[in-house]
Symmetry: C2
Subunit: 217 residues, 2 copies
């Protein structure tokens, strides 16, 4: 492409469109490489713009771009949890897990780098974004379970399961995405039911939830 | 204490003793405060020495001291997993959990700060230390289960449980150490058995392990 051809295209995007184009380019790079292996030049090249233009939109450089990309990925991930509250509960959970695992599959390297910690771009802000997703996941689950105020034992059980889903996702990526994703999903659903069932023996609120699940079968 | 009284005591310690005294002081501070709330002056004061002396032993300053304290805590934590391989399995697991939860109780704030991420002193080295403890915990469990080469499904199940024990520990600290520690421990043992039982339905190696546990009951 000659400069004269590039320039008009360059101007056609609004500020918002340009910003979102740069973010998309950054996200697709951060998804498949560790943050330390992505440079601003890479982002500029992937978006087909100059490095100074990237800096104009993200004056904080790579850290700012990473956090913005992470925020946009977190939003996308939270959409995975959107599931109508109708029909039996476990198939709802299975569908949300399918979307979540597809997200993990699509953002493999970035997902591992983010959650495995010790990354060069990790800050209290990136941690807060990840924690926000975990909290949102727990809230979705409580809503689907019909629980408006989860007591400590149920809350712990659900958050332990969410953490163990993360751990399973990381190991799944490490194991070249084995077992097949549908098996992983079914197994995670079974682990959820088993964890709730154990807690039900100690906690009436959880026992009521498990009773509801059994009534569906 | 007058300087003349302090000086001889000051000289009586060998290099190793002094280093270990500074580390102990640092560890007890890092155990109960977030790393950003501990200064080298605090460490010097707690150890009853001057700030330059702390720097002589730890020229890398707070980061080096934090990593050394973390390494020493990680060693202490790994001793929690030392449990003779005799007698029924679940009581062994319960005893190891008792020691682990006592460690969590004793290092509460530091434990949370370390595992919740986004700390100012978190680096790829601190992450590697924590991962080393997780790996050691998994290896101990496999040895106790009599498994010399864990296959992916069993490995995932054990590591998911270890991760969920960490999550439960953090929430337990957040909930002012409720439920009582013995209840938490029994509940975690039950979760372990339930998780293995679910996996046993999909994996012969895990089914053999669960069969062994049942034979003990």
């Amino acid at each position: 492409m000659t400069p004269s051809a590039a320039t008009p295209a360059y101007r056609r995007l609004s500020v918002e469109e340009r910003r979102s184009q740069l973010l998309d380019a950054a996200l697709s790079l951060f998804a498949h490489r560790a943050p330390e292996d992505v440079s601003l030049d890479d982002v500029a090249e992937a978006a087909g713009v100059s490095r100074p233009l990237v800096y104009r939109y993200f004056p904080g450089g790579k850290q700012q771009l990473y956090e913005a990309a992470l925020r946009s990925a977190a939003e996308e991930l939270q959409h995975c949890f959107d599931e109508p509250r109708e029909g039996p509960l476990l198939p709802r959970l299975a569908r949300a897990l399918d979307r979540y695992l597809a997200f993990v599959d699509e953002h493999d390297t970035g997902f591992s780098a983010l959650l495995q910690g010790g990354s060069v771009v990790e800050t209290s802000r990136t941690t807060a974004i990840v924690d926000g997703v975990r909290r949102a996941a727990a809230e979705h689950i409580f809503r689907h379970l019909g629980v408006s105020a989860a007591e400590p034992r149920l809350r712990m059980t659900v958050r332990m399961w969410i953490t163990s889903v993360e751990a399973a996702s990381l190991m799944w990526l490490d194991e070249d995405k084995q077992p097949p994703v549908q098996e992983l999903r079914d197994w995670l659903v079974e682990q959820f039911v088993a964890a709730l069932t154990v807690t039900a023996g100690r906690d009436p609120q959880t026992a009521a939830v498990v009773g509801g699940l059994a009534g569906e079968g």
